[in-house]
């Protein structure tokens, strides 16, 4: 994997770390260079000051050709071998105007009157530099490949130019001092890095974690079930915060849309299954009627022996069962004139009472309805009975069942809630299909019939499992003319008032 493809979670801290390291190295490098220059500068300054002091005395001494005295003078600044210090020179010597050595602190290496350019090391370069430089000016000379620094001071007074005093320093002596300094700087660097790098890592992770979560969520959006990203993930109202808000809004809409699509698909499937079942039921119903009629006729003749009579009775019971089943599949809206009333709920309660009593169930009714509603009473009763029977079967011994009925301006709502374990997910997905049953002994048509009935009334039915309760929620629209009439009358009133004003 290439670096630029790395996760931001790693890339941002890595970038930050490299920037910190680079910045620290650059700053300390610059400081170190500066320190090196300063050290060198100090060296040159101190050499020049020593040189000027020496030059004054040396001028007269050399003018008088007192070579030995000159030698003693330039030997004076040299300490014992054991106590050499960074600023101590490695050598001091004087060259005349022709760049021959007049006197040197190291006469073995630099004999009297030797040509400076013939002395090897970096002396030829130094001789060249001294030849071209202004003889009246001091100078500092350094040559590539040489570990020495030469400071030259003119030996001149009142225009009389005797030669040049050169103070040579070995960098070997001041390099350890510089390295000591560099070591200290490196320690500080390490300390700064030890503080900054973990901080950078922490901040990097903190910044990128929400982004990574967001990116993950975005990639989930196409699946239709984007992740919930809670506000605790990023609680600030900057651009990232806005991004989170937008994401949450989009995710909510997408989840809603997905749920809607699922519901549509399910109801379409149920409608298809319903048409199929009704078709088959019709086809079965016609011959069934004929067969039952034939058996009836056979029985009325009364000419059957005992064995035949048993067989015929067996056939008749079988056909009756088929008739019941097919009858259940054939749900049809039979127009009933009577409207739903509060009394209907009392009737259902009376009907269901024996089953409720058998399982010691607490049944509660919360009916918040006017005296009558423009809905077909027999259908609603059928739905309520089916849901209650289903609930009783699913409720444990001494459980609780609640029935809640209410209305809004354009809707009738019925909720049947029972305590109990929610059915497994695979059952829940096909709950309203025929012959699906979560229980032993159930034929699985009760909820299917309920569903078909609700659909015929243009209503909706949904199941929710929460807080240890299974809730079936039925919504039925009230006939429009009722609500429309109310709205029109209100509008007319407002219009009249407006005119009056």
């Amino acid at each position: 994997m290439r670096f630029f493809d790395l996760s931001l979670r790693h890339k941002i801290p890595l970038w930050g770390s490299s920037l910190i390291v680079a910045a620290t190295l650059a700053v300390s490098g610059a400081l170190m260079l500066r320190a090196f220059d300063d050290l060198k500068h100090d060296l040159v300054i101190s050499s020049e000051s020593l040189g000027f002091t020496l030059a004054k005395t040396l001028f007269t001494t050399l003018l008088h050709d007192d070579i030995w005295r000159a030698y003693e003078l330039i030997r004076a600044p040299f300490h014992d071998e054991g106590s050499r210090q960074a600023m101590d020179p490695a050598a001091i010597f004087v060259v005349d105007r022709n760049l021959r050595v007049l006197v040197s602190s190291q006469p073995l290496a630099m004999p009297i009157l030797a040509d400076l350019a013939s002395l090897g090391e970096d002396f030829p370069e130094l001789a060249e530099a001294l030849r071209i430089k202004n003889p009246e000016a001091t100078g500092a000379h350094e040559f590539p490949g040489s570990d020495r620094l030469h400071v030259s001071i003119p030996l001149a007074e009142e225009g009389e130019h005797l030669g040049t005093l050169v103070i040579t320093h070995s960098k070997d002596v001041f390099l350890p001092r510089f390295f000591g300094f560099a070591l200290g700087a490196a320690g500080t660097c390490a300390l700064v890095l030890a503080i900054l790098l973990p901080l950078n890592w922490y901040w990097g992770r903190r910044m990128t974690e929400p982004l990574v979560q967001l990116a993950h969520g975005m990639s989930e959006i196409v699946t239709g079930a984007p992740e919930e990203l809670g506000p605790e993930l990023y609680a600030y109202h900057d651009e990232l915060g806005e991004l989170f808000t937008a994401y949450r809004r989009a995710a909510a809409e997408i989840r809603e849309k997905t749920a809607l699509e699922k519901e549509v698909m399910q109801s379409e499937r149920l409608a298809a299954v319903g048409r199929l079942a009704a078709g088959i039921a019709h086809e079965v119903n016609n011959p069934l009627g004929g067969m039952l009629m034939a058996i009836d006729t056979l029985k009325q003749r009364g000419t059957m022996d005992a064995a035949t009579a048993r067989t015929v009775a067996l056939l008749e019971r079988g056909l009756q069962q088929i008739t019941e089943t097919v009858g259940a599949l054939l749900v049809q809206a039979r127009v009933q004139a009577r409207d739903l009333g509060r009394q209907d709920f009392e009737d259902v309660r009376t009907l269901i009472e024996p089953q409720v009593a058998k399982k010691l169930i607490h049944l509660e009714f919360e009916i918040d309805l006017p005296e009558s509603l423009p809905l077909p009473a027999s259908f609603v009763r059928q739905v309520l009975i089916n849901l209650l029977l289903n609930a009783i079967a699913a409720t444990p011994q001494e459980g609780r069942i609640r029935v809640m009925a209410s209305r809004t301006s354009d809707e009738f709502s019925l909720v049947v809630a029972n305590e109990g374990e929610p059915p497994p997910q695979e059952i829940l997905a096909h709950l309203f299909e025929p012959f699906v049953s979560g229980r032993e002994g159930g034929h699985g048509l009760g909820l299917w019939v309920t569903y078909q009935t609700v659909k015929q009334l243009n209503g909706s039915i949904a199941v929710e499992c929460r807080d240890g309760e299974i809730r079936f929620v039925v919504s039925l629209p009230l006939p429009p003319d009722d609500a429309a009439a109310a709205k029109v009358s209100l509008g007319e009133t407002a219009l009249k008032q407006g005119n009056a004003a």
């Binding site: 050709d65 070579i67 030995w68 006469p107 004999p111 009157l113």
Partner: protein, 296 residues
Amino acid sequence: MGSIELPNGNRQRRRLLQAGAAAIALGSAGALASTVGAQRIIRIGLTPAFVHDRHALMAEWRRYLEAKLGVTIEFHPRNSYRETMDLLHQSRLEFAWLCDYPFLYLKDLVRLLVVPVNKGRPYYRAYLLVHADNAKAQGMADLKGAAFAYSDPYSNTGYLVPRYWVRQLGENPQTFFRKTFFTFSHRKAVEAVASGMAEGASMDSYVWDTLTRIKPELTARTRIIGASPEYGFPPFAAHRSVSAEDFATMQRVLLDMSNDVAGRRILEQLNLDGFTVGELRLYAGVVDMMRAFGEY
């Protein structure tokens, strides 16, 4: 000095000296000995003819002489013979330890007092030195074009002898060397060769021998490649204006130094056996050389 207890003989001599000094002080305006109150002062010039910068030894010797003579002794060390010669010219010294060459040069101003005895004999010689690392040089001929350190322009072994050697080679001492300079002391001439400032130097054998005892690490860095014939040891001279009594007294004290413990200890440190009454012909060899240069 009166508080110092002196033996009877010395007390006698002291009185004698004081009396003589008083007479001189009254008699001549250019008196040799100066007086501070009643205390006479004898001034002795010291030169680099020996290792003259050993201050503790000088102090000990001064106290010894003061005790013997009963006078205040002033040592006047100078770094060049010229300065000591000037002091003698100005009559500002009674006695001086000189080199052969200035002694002969000032033969009309001074007379021989005593000659130090070294290794049993009143002689010394010149050594020709090169650096210990110089294994090639065998003699003066090998030092042509070298940097050469003379000790003093009035030194016998440090100036007259090496120039004489060059002259004997048929060369001109002015041009024979690449560069010459004066160190104004035999000891520094050794340092010049040891450090490499000079590739050769000529010096007093007595100073060399003394240095090998007191500073062997210095002499070890040099090598002797030649020696001159013997010359009379650098003498103690008296200004001609010094009275006969003072001359005799001083001569006696110096000659007696080897006869007592304190004197022997000083002589030991001076690397001398004692002093002897010398003769001028000890210095005939030096006179010959001076004649060769037209200086005698």
